[in-house]
Symmetry: C2
DNA sequence: ATTAATTTGTATGCGCGCTCACAGAGATCA
DNA sequence: TGATCTCTGTGAGCGCGCATACAAATTAAT
């Protein structure tokens, strides 16, 4: 209930704005295309723009000096990212890169702040967005502190199910395809360990794995391993709903 | 520069309010005393109050089913905590407990939100606070993902120096006393490992340890280990400044 | 269709860090 | 001052997960 509101609220932030304010934002906003692997922003970047993903997929990550990649978040179409830029406190410490070819709408921080000041709804919306993501990060932090690789992987699968899960006959299908390497980068493990663990979980009948595809057969049992409530999953994933709503909203607007 | 602003901003949030609004808040606020070890709030708690620590020390933590304690943050006098309560989205997932005997000023979320609506400064301040803490948590998450126990401990010491460090002749003294067990709970390790690592760091001349006391002899070298800039430390710690300013502010107000 | 690049599977050794167990040292309170 | 409790130091054993190495299976590119 409260959760669902959040997911929609993310992009509908902009919908609640008046037409004049929207026009103001759109005038300032710049749409840019990024090819696979290219960076949207990097650490110690002074370009303080709030970003909205129109198409593609973005990875928020930071790489260790030894060359390991830590994925902090994945952004799907219709989602906002780089929102900490509105607090001009930022040296952005992280890096955003296009996981696949993507187009991004970028709004300079100054302009965004200006509109925010005249629109309490937007201000509150941003606050909630930041707070929501903070709660999510805290959950991940807790999950990392004292958990084994296996538990971390289970927790990740449950979280992915919540966001990308689609109910099918055989179980919950993840509408996102991630390589073992990417999974490892999210939970701070290695590719080989993930391969092994996925194999084990499959043997135990908890999941089925195909190439870059995961089908969760017993979401409840998986969630129980990490003492989490099993998320509610419908026959269409949150991520898909969000993206579709976003496309509808923007296409009608762009026609005008 | 931007950092310093943040630290003050935390408590001075309330100072920027008009007298009538402050009076409104104070009428609704309730001051409560907590004995050592008692809980201010617990997971799945519906008591959505924003809390301000007047005296003592609070631990934000969550305990694993195996009984291990994970410390997510430490709160000092003059600091706000439980601020996610203002986004009534919350099931609070964490637990706040008094590390020592403490007194807390609690403001019901509804009242807080009401004042926030009529005070953009407060709203912006809270947003920045939440954002600032989110940035801090993200840094910790990065630090946990691919780092050894030793590196995690070094990172923690650097962070503690930033907040609790006081410049002395021999080095930077931490104005907070934490047991090895507590340090371990922050970095997700064990008491024994921390004991060993502190001993090693001492042998290497990086720090000096006494009972519950740490003196950092070479902050820059310590920071270099975890590729962090060495924080600026004066002869009085941020935490002390904050607490003192807070006491001044409240004492004058309470006299009226 | 062939080549190149990416993804996945598997096995071996080894080291970090956890568990368990115990002892001394320092606090705290009667 | 003695008793109890908390904090710190140290060692032995061991298992998880990493590093490394190699090969097969898919996909992408030309």
């Amino acid at each position: 209930m409260a959760k669902a509101f959040w997911y929609i609220g993310r992009w509908s932030l902009f919908q609640r704005l008046g037409n004049d304010q929207l026009a103001e934002l759109e005038k300032k906003a710049k749409q840019r295309a990024f090819s696979k692997g290219s960076a949207i922003y990097v650490p110690f970047d002074s370009s303080d723009s709030v970003c909205l993903l129109a198409e593609g997929r973005i990875r928020i990550c930071s790489s260790t000096p030894e060359g390991k990649l830590a994925i902090l978040a994945l952004i799907e179409p219709g989602e906002i990212f780089g929102e900490l830029a509105v607090l001009n406190s930022s040296d952005q410490e992280e890096r955003a890169e296009a996981a696949i070819a993507s187009t991004v709408i970028m709004i300079p921080g100054d302009d965004f702040r200006k509109v925010m000041e005249s629109s309490p709804e937007l201000a509150i919306g941003i606050t909630k967005l930041i707070g929501f993501r903070r709660a999510r990060i805290e959950r991940r932090l807790r999950g990392l502190l004292f958990r084994s690789n296996r538990e971390r992987l289970c927790q990740l699968l449950v979280e992915l199910a919540e966001q990308y899960g689609r109910q099918k006959e055989g179980g919950v299908e993840l509408t996102i395809s991630l390589s073992h390497q990417e999974l490892a980068s999210v939970i701070g493990s290695t590719r080989e360990s993930v391969t092994m663990l996925l194999g084990e979980l499959q043997l135990e009948g908890l999941i089925s794995v195909a190439r870059k595809r995961v089908l969760i057969r017993h979401l409840k049992r998986l969630a129980a391993i990490v003492q989490l409530p099993a998320p509610v999953v419908t026959d269409v994933s949150r991520s898909e709903v969000n993206a579709e709503l976003f496309r509808l909203a923007t296409s009608t607007r762009l026609k005008e």
